[in-house]
Amino acid sequence: MTDESSGPDTCDVLVAGGSFVGLTLALALSRASRGVLRVTVVDRTPPDVARAAANDGRASALSAASMHLLQSLGVWEEVAAHAQAFTEIDISDSRLDAVARPSLLHFDGALSEGEPAAYMLENHVLRTALIASAEEAESISFIAPESVEDFSVTSTGVAAQLGQGQTIQASLLVAADGRRSALRKKAGIKSIGWAYPQAGIVATLGIERPHGGRAVQHFLPQGPFAILPLRGDRVSLVWTEPRDRADEIVALDDTEFLREARKRMGGRYGALSVAGPRGTFPLDLHLARAFVADRVALVGDAAHGVHPLAGQGLNIGLRDVAALAEVVIESARLGLDIGSTPVLERYQRWRRFDSAFSGFAMDSLNRLFSNDSAPLRSIRSFGLGLVDRAPALKRFFVREAAGLTGNLPRLLKGQEI
């Protein structure tokens, strides 16, 4: 990878956005094409800033399917030592003042002996490994800090204008530029969705007693509260509150903040300490009306955003990557124009239904659980109780959480394209 302020003026695929989804796509295309496809990645953030832990205190849940993808790209072996496997998943539904928080639903975190359904990994660890792998790939050019400001579609390709004046010709432009994707708007694609009255708080805490790999999701009346295990006696909290309240909580001093966290976590973890920066992020659900336009494909948050309830945002983005990489590579192996409409339509057919389904399923769950009414509470208890007693249904949910249901791209099954 060339790490500089300008790159070549032509490439096969231009990726706007060099975060997880954009970098993973570049690696997948480079690897499966044996370095023949030339990929240029453009990102606003200077690489040294992107790598720094202090700039992103968040962690992500990676499903088994996402792990397969990273494994096939040779990235997993670089991060495996930092990844915490889920050994158990506990779901509970109780009021804050409840003395005991009985577990409503308990999953064994493993798909099968020795294969966890999901892992927790800190964002900066994953980002650093992806950048390092991209640097090793000669067919990938990385231009940062830089952005794609505009583009025009020609009969044979796309011409993208960068902020500092360079124009890059490509066969395909991939918009991996996040939830407020400017390229989505420039491509004339509208997005539908709504914001939630809640915001998410993320924080990393040190704990006294080991978490044992247990992931916990409490459905509290204010919104879901997740305690996700990290390596080294730490947990990542993903904590939903009404927006104003979320800002207040994050602004508390460390002692007060830990007191609020402890109220929700219970006493299971012993003494708590602050182990990283904390922040809030807005919660919204959005789905692009189309995932493709002439010469343009949307991936990741540019295409869809889900309620982070089940930590599925990154996993769904990586499903886009695996599907788009497979469609592009198979088309290139037939000599087809990889940015042509029939190729892009195949990607859209594959991904759009799945994304809509995930988005609205998470939304329904959030609505069902973020509510304190007694009848809803008993319906939830009854429903989850049923799931808990039906092993087949539980296996389905664990496989769903692992991202292993549906028509999977090969990379997610741990196969080469």
Binding site: T156, A332, R333, L334, G335, D337, S340, R346, R349
Partner: protein
Amino acid sequence: MTDPLQNELPPSSERTLDQNEVARFAAIADEWWDPNGKFRPLHALNPARLTFVRDQICTHFDLDSRDLKPFEGLKIIDIGCGGGLLCEPLSRLGAAVTGIDPAEDSINAARAHAEAQGLKIGYRADRVENLVADGERFDAVLALEVVEHVPDVPAFLGVAADLVRPGGLMLLSTINRTLKSYALAIVGAEFILRWLPVGTHRWDRFVTPAELSDACSQADLQEVSRKGLVFDPLEGSWRLSSDTDVNYLMSASRPG
């Protein structure tokens, strides 16, 4: 029923080409590369038929089909290339490609499109006989969706086979002459779905796999493989199948 291949044979010089057919394709030449235009069905068919072509050539010449440029070093000709829907992919896969078509307008459209794509393809508005006379030889010769438009299939194959070098491969595709093909390819595709202009095909010119295989043998070509093409309405795309009742492809090799 009389054998349609022997029916109403024109004079021998016109057995390999039908001027009415040439004129009909010339009239719509500017639409070759419009994915929503009159040639949409060919665009839809392209991935599946290219899969057959690629896999047959890779198997025959022992090449890696997962490579993005497996055809480097191969000389390939597409007979009846139209706007270049097959020539461009073959060129991207690394082959030195020649495309010939009797319709001058199609060749002009093909040439303009390839230049814009930065692809070097040798296009000629010409007929097969002239290339044979020039002594041209190719590693692979393609004539896809062609034989159903020529008046005399054995005569056409006899000439086209001369373009295949010893040890080379011929690739053909056409439409079978069955009741099902009449229902699907003519009534369905032309009259009901309007995928193709009415009059695109004449059922009596359709060729059965056995007839095509025999015509290959007469031209000193040996059938290697045949596959059907079926439309999957759920996926909205074509795929290869063992069902050769309607559209099918065939590969045949010339003994080395």
